[in-house]
């Protein structure tokens, strides 16, 4: 693989409701931030990937809203619909193809503007499943139960993820929900759909994010040292929930395998210094530890018990606070990647993991983490 690296990043503050801001307002903010961060101007950008979702935005061709704001006039541009990390991966491919020297990737979502359960119900098959009324929470509860019962993972272990990530968010000025909570608070929080409680679930969030990819030559022009793409992979599981073994994530195993192979990683727990994973629900983080090979199958609960993924653990996970602390759905994966970049740069402030060389970012698409993207960036 040729070299492609991130030279600029930008995020909005993640908030429950940005009532005065439109999608282009947010995208302009993060585009300018990413350009400033890179020390580049819009003229240095030779193609753009926007990422958005037509359901969340209530607009077919939702990308149309942000064409002016992402500075794409007179440039090649395309649009990925899905999690921002998948969009970032496609943005990197376009540089690797040799056609472009830089790609700006932008993503936006205002979850406050629509109804989460109606939007996520539309993920389900209109012929066989949708009329049942499943949404992101009830479907996740099906998976949580399957996973927890299969491996004996407890609600308290899941609660520890929430405590960890909300606590870590206190050091991230962009996070929406920095919280000082204990396991008991999570256990006593309002039950949404057992085993999922309010503090096991990520919030409704508005926000946007941007990154700039550059090839080796273009990166020289940027003021920040590039954080290189070391490896990436993506993969999807079967669609119907009943076709899947919901307790396991073979698609994540496959995506990680590809990313590790490209990055030359054989023991992720040792070789990855920090990981930002998609903790849309607290149980997911534990499941993804397993899929990412941080521990053996069923070992996620023990991993959190042992504190291995806390800030002082062997592999800190979600120093940003994760999706539990801000989840502008499409933005989530790119927010994970941006945190990974900041960690590698040593710019993560009070949440900095010392001596971070390789960082992992992870994003998901579809019901119950059906599709995964894993990316490893480093010095």
């Amino acid at each position: 693989m040729d070299k492609v690296g991130i030279v600029g990043v930008g995020q909005t503050k993640y908030e429950r409701r940005k009532v005065g801001e439109t999608y282009p307002d947010m995208i302009y903010e993060v585009t300018v931030k990413a350009l400033d961060n890179a020390g580049l101007t819009i003229k240095d950008i030779d193609n753009v990937i926007t990422v958005s979702n037509d359901f969340w935005d209530g607009r077919t061709i939702s990308s149309m809203a942000v064409q002016d704001a992402c500075g794409c006039r007179h440039k090649d541009i395309s649009t990925v619909e899905g999690d921002g990390l998948f969009g970032a991966f496609y943005g990197a491919m376009r540089v690797l193809s040799g056609s472009f020297s830089t790609t700006l990737v932008v993503v936006h979502n205002k979850c406050s503007q629509s109804k989460m359960n109606l939007i996520t119900n539309a993920m389900f098959d209109p012929i066989y499943t949708r009329a049942l009324g499943l949404d992101a929470i009830t479907s996740a509860a099906l998976q949580a139960r399957a996973y927890m019962e299969t491996f004996g993972v407890t609600e308290k272990q899941c609660a520890k993820v929430s405590v960890k990530n909300h606590g870590q968010a206190k050091n991230n000025p962009y996070a929406q929900l920095p919280l000082d909570i204990e396991v008991d608070d999570v256990m006593k929080s309002r039950v949404l759909c057992p085993p999922i409680k309010l503090l096991d679930a990520s919030p409704i969030t508005d926000g946007a994010a941007a990154v700039i990819w550059a090839d080796e030559k273009a990166a020289q022009k940027a003021k920040a040292a590039p954080v290189w793409l070391k490896g990436a992979g993506h993969m999807t599981d079967a669609y119907h929930l009943g076709d899947r073994d919901l307790a396991r994530s073979p698609a994540l195993v496959g995506a990680a395998k590809k990313a590790y192979a490209l990055a030359g990683v054989s023991d992720p727990l040792k070789e990855i210094d920090v990981a930002e994973v998609s903790d849309v629900f607290s149980y997911m983080e534990l499941m993804w530890y397993e899929g990412l090979g941080f521990c053996s199958e069923g070992g996620g609960g023990q991993m959190i018990d042992q504190g291995l993924t806390g800030m002082n653990g062997v592999l800190p996970v979600n120093p940003s606070g994760g999706c539990l602390s801000a989840n502008a759905v499409m933005v989530a994966g790119l927010a994970r990647l941006i945190e990974a970049v900041l960690q590698v740069r040593g710019e993560a402030g009070d949440r900095q993991v010392p001596n971070c060389k390789n960082a992992l970012a992870h994003g998901i698409n579809g019901p119950c983490g059906q599709s995964h993207c894993v990316m490893i960036v480093g010095r």
């Binding site: 009532v19 005065g20 209530g58 359960n117 109606l118 119900n121 209109p126 012929i127 066989y128 499943t129 009329a131 049942l132 009324g133 499943l134 949404d135 929470i137 009830t138 479907s139 509860a141 099906l142 998976q143 139960r145 399957a146 019962e149 309002r190 039950v191 949404l192 759909c193 057992p194 079967a238 669609y239 119907h240 929930l241 009943g242 076709d243 919901l246």
Partner: protein
């Protein structure tokens, strides 16, 4: 922010997307729903190459693309693989509480059908429970011709 911006109220426009959809079920699915509607029978599709019976039915095997799949009649009883009892109300919920979402592996099938579970006492659902389909009286040829599954 310019002065006029600070002084301007934030207008929020309330609208909707209400496009009517009709999703064609296709020949395979239509056969399945007609059997369900007319005979209260549940049919899966068998791939001999993968030796798997899929439920809901597929025209071709989603694993190996085999198009020569066969119909297999399944029992209207099965095992609860997982379940979820929502503790919140939603306009989407088709039943009054208590009800559950369930993944049900029908006897004779290798994959689970996601559907509703009802007719249970609160707190009494368990994975592994045996459940049986309760059919609607006036069936119209769609997945809701099964009202729900209830514990045997």
């Amino acid at each position: 922010m310019a002065e006029w911006e600070q002084a301007t109220e934030d207008i929020v426009y309330r609208g909707r997307i209400k496009v009517p959809y009709q999703w064609w079920v296709g020949e395979t699915g239509s056969h399945f729903f007609i059997k369900l509607r007319d005979e209260k029978k549940l049919l899966g599709r068998y791939c001999a190459r993968c030796n798997l019976v899929f439920m809901p039915p597929r025209q071709a095997c989603p694993r190996c693309f085999n198009k020569e799949m066969a119909w297999r009649e399944l029992k209207d009883e099965g095992t609860l693989v997982s379940f979820a009892v929502p503790a919140y109300t939603s306009e989407l919920h088709p039943l009054e509480p208590p009800f559950a979402y369930g993944i049900i592996k029908l006897d004779g099938a290798d994959t689970g059908l996601t559907h509703l579970v009802a007719g249970f006492k609160e707190g009494r659902l368990k994975t592994g429970l045996r459940v049986k389909a309760v059919f609607k009286e006036d069936r119209t040829g769609d997945i809701m011709d099964i009202r729900y599954f209830q514990p045997v």
